[in-house]
């Protein structure tokens, strides 16, 4: 949305091509939403619905029978539930607003995908803090209300900060997504067929009329909200990391955790975003909206983030040795690379740090299969990274007599697969009801491109 910052889009190649002008864009995106869904969509929804039912089943079983159905033990009391909470915290909102404030013109094509990714993955992530409480029906005790128990939440604890910042982030991500959608809802209200559609989109658009005054206010509001959401997103990732780093366990008790988690969150967010971008590009034949330039930008971002994560991992290991603390040294230099989960550790290194190095080559960067595989590898590798962080520190703690191993149970695996299904279901529904890219931003890019050409 570079015009919002007062700068021209630097390249015509980003403006969606087509002979019909901006109207062609609008009508095309309306058609995506208005025309009946192709059979492939129904098949995909069916698969994801099955996953969602699996999720509901395993959740119900976990709540009804108890956390004993999981593989958690003492000392590994915190396992896959917290892992999934962190992994599903893909920083979609941070990506969208970060690119906006950096004035990257290729942000417009992927902005809505990033924002939707943020909201949907947060919905998945929020299942886990509720679930892993053991008695999730008492979740409301975390909210500071005057209770008959006459106790309050402990606000000095990062777990309570988690609750508050996540609720704030959910609100903020929805607000950002909705704000970007208001003008597109107006377009749908005006051009989608059917009275029901017009009424619903009309209500959602709040009566947006697109006047010059309104656009000026919109531009200012969007800039403010973007800056606020970016700050909050970084805060949320940091607070989630403080759940670990405010403890004493070796491998957790490190001040590098907040920036490390921000890097990991943005990295996994970009990886999943790249997968979604490639999918949407293929399904909608939208290579003129999600152009080579977009893929190039995202591939480079992935490579940069891989190096950022490599730096974080090396610094953590170095400081773990540099402290001289025997427990810390053991964890970083023996337990992780050579302990019971060493296979996972080296798999993480290969998938997340080494595989993206393929993207140095321009030829490989423009191969979409390489991009897809690299993105999937990075996302999977970051799951393994979370596993290493969460599990090894607990299973190889201070006292060797207290060491134990952990293996996930089928119920936990079912919950994870189920959340993948829920994510897919929500994302497919999202694609059916709103345009996958902000139409007004794309039209603005085209307008700016035409202005530059006329000069």
């Amino acid at each position: 949305m570079t015009a919002l910052q007062g700068r021209d889009a630097p390249t015509r190649s980003l403006a969606p091509r087509g002979s019909g002008g901006g109207g062609e864009l609008a009508h095309r995106f309306v058609a995506h939403v208005a025309r009946p869904a192709p059979p492939g969509w129904w098949v995909a929804v069916g698969v994801c619905l099955a996953g969602t039912l699996l999720l509901l089943g395993t959740l119900a079983y976990s709540v009804a029978v108890g956390v004993g159905t999981w593989g958690n033990n003492i000392p590994v009391a915190w396992a896959l539930a917290i892992l999934h909470f962190v992994w599903w915290g893909h920083a979609g909102g941070v990506i969208s607003t970060g690119l906006f404030l950096m004035e990257k013109p290729w942000r417009s094509g992927i902005a809505r995908l990033a924002e939707a990714l943020g909201v949907i993955s947060m919905a998945n992530a929020l299942i886990f803090p509720l679930l892993h409480m053991g008695r999730p029906w008492f979740f409301y005790w975390l909210i500071p209300y005057p209770s008959s128990l006459e106790v309050w939440p402990q606000f000095r604890s990062s777990l309570t900060w988690d609750v508050i910042s996540l609720m704030a982030m959910l609100f903020a991500s929805l607000a950002l997504l909705f704000l970007g959608l208001i003008p597109d809802f107006a377009t749908l209200r005006d051009h989608a067929p059917g009275t029901l559609r017009k009424r619903v989109y009309g209500a959602l658009s709040l009566g947006w009329k697109g006047s010059g005054r309104d656009w000026q206010r919109y531009r200012i509001t969007y800039g403010l909200v973007a800056a606020l959401v970016l700050t909050l997103g970084i805060l949320v990732q940091s607070v989630a990391s403080l759940d670990f780093s405010s403890t004493l366990l070796p491998g957790w008790h490190a001040t590098s955790f907040p920036p490390g988690f921000v890097v990991r969150g943005v990295y996994s967010g970009f990886a999943v975003l790249l997968v979604l971008t490639l999918a949407v590009r293929r399904w909608y034949r939208a290579s003129d909206v999600l152009t080579e330039r977009h893929l190039e930008g995202m591939a480079r971002a992935l490579l940069v983030l891989a190096w950022a994560l490599a730096y974080v991992v090396l610094i953590e290991a170095f400081v773990g040795w540099y402290t001289g603390n025997q427990y810390s040294r053991y964890l970083y230099l023996v337990a992780r690379p050579a302990g019971p989960y060493s296979l996972l550790f080296w798999a993480f290194v290969v998938l997340t740090l080494l595989t993206p190095q393929l993207l140095w080559s321009r030829r490989l960067r423009s191969d979409r299969r390489v991009l897809l595989l690299t993105a999937l590898a990075a996302a999977a590798g970051l799951w393994l990274d979370r596993f290493i962080i969460v599990i090894t520190s607990q299973s190889r703690g201070f006292l060797p007599s207290a060491w134990a191993s952990y293996a996930p149970s089928w119920v936990e695996a079912g919950i994870f697969v189920g959340t993948l299904g829920l994510f897919g279901l929500l994302f497919l529904l999202f694609l059916r009801v709103v345009p996958f890219a902000p139409v007004h931003e794309l039209q603005m890019l085209r307008h700016q491109g035409e202005r530059r050409e006329r000069r």
């Binding site: 901006g22 607000a175 009566g207 009329k209 005054r213 309104d214 940091s238 603005m444 307008h447």
Partner: protein, 181 residues
């Protein structure tokens, strides 16, 4: 350009943003002041031509953020330092540093809500009807056409001459609109 988007006057439809902007420029040079545009995307030149007053709501966003942080501080202070003080690991009762993350989160949430309210209040949202919506074909304003509106409250407004001025600038159509129907 002061006040709301005019609801009574004439609207003209233009094929492109450039034509709309040059029409606005010509009208402004001709002395018109009650002007606005309708477009499917923000057109930066419109702001340069019409020079609307800069909205003041950002300061309310800041105020809301500070208020949210203050509320979060008060809730935490009351809960953990006044009503039920607990010695947890020797940590101080009045612990501002550990309360800051929650203050930031709540403050930012309040600020975002205020920014939204500022947008809605300034644009008159939600307002599901505007007189321009009555114009046949106005839905092109959200797709591929650019409209100009001249308010009848303008001192230079004349039903025929203003419409003629719009046509001279290349308007495809010129249609009157009225606020009360």
């Amino acid at each position: 350009m002061t006040g709301e988007t005019p609801g009574t006057g004439v609207v003209g439809e233009f094929r492109s943003a450039g034509e709309m902007v040059s029409a606005l420029r010509a009208l402004r040079e001709g002395g018109y002041r009650s002007l606005d545009s309708f477009s499917p995307h923000p057109v930066r030149e419109v702001e340069e031509v019409l020079a609307p007053p800069r909205p003041t709501f950002p300061r309310w966003v800041l105020a809301a953020g500070v208020a949210g942080a203050a509320i979060a501080y008060c809730v935490q202070w009351y809960a953990n330092a006044w009503d039920y003080p607990l010695n947890v690991g020797g940590r101080p009762l009045y612990a501002l540093p550990v309360w800051i993350p929650s203050m930031l989160a709540v403050g930012i949430a309040f600020a975002i809500a205020a920014a939204f309210a500022g947008l809605c209040r300034g644009a008159g949202l939600p307002a599901l009807w505007h007189p321009a919506f009555e114009v046949e074909g106005f839905e092109s304003a959200s797709a591929d056409r650019y409209w100009v509106v001249v308010g009848s409250d303008d001192s230079r407004y004349h039903p025929l001459h203003t419409a003629e001025a719009l046509r001279r600038e290349g308007a495809l159509r010129v249609v009157p609109i009225r606020r009360d129907g």
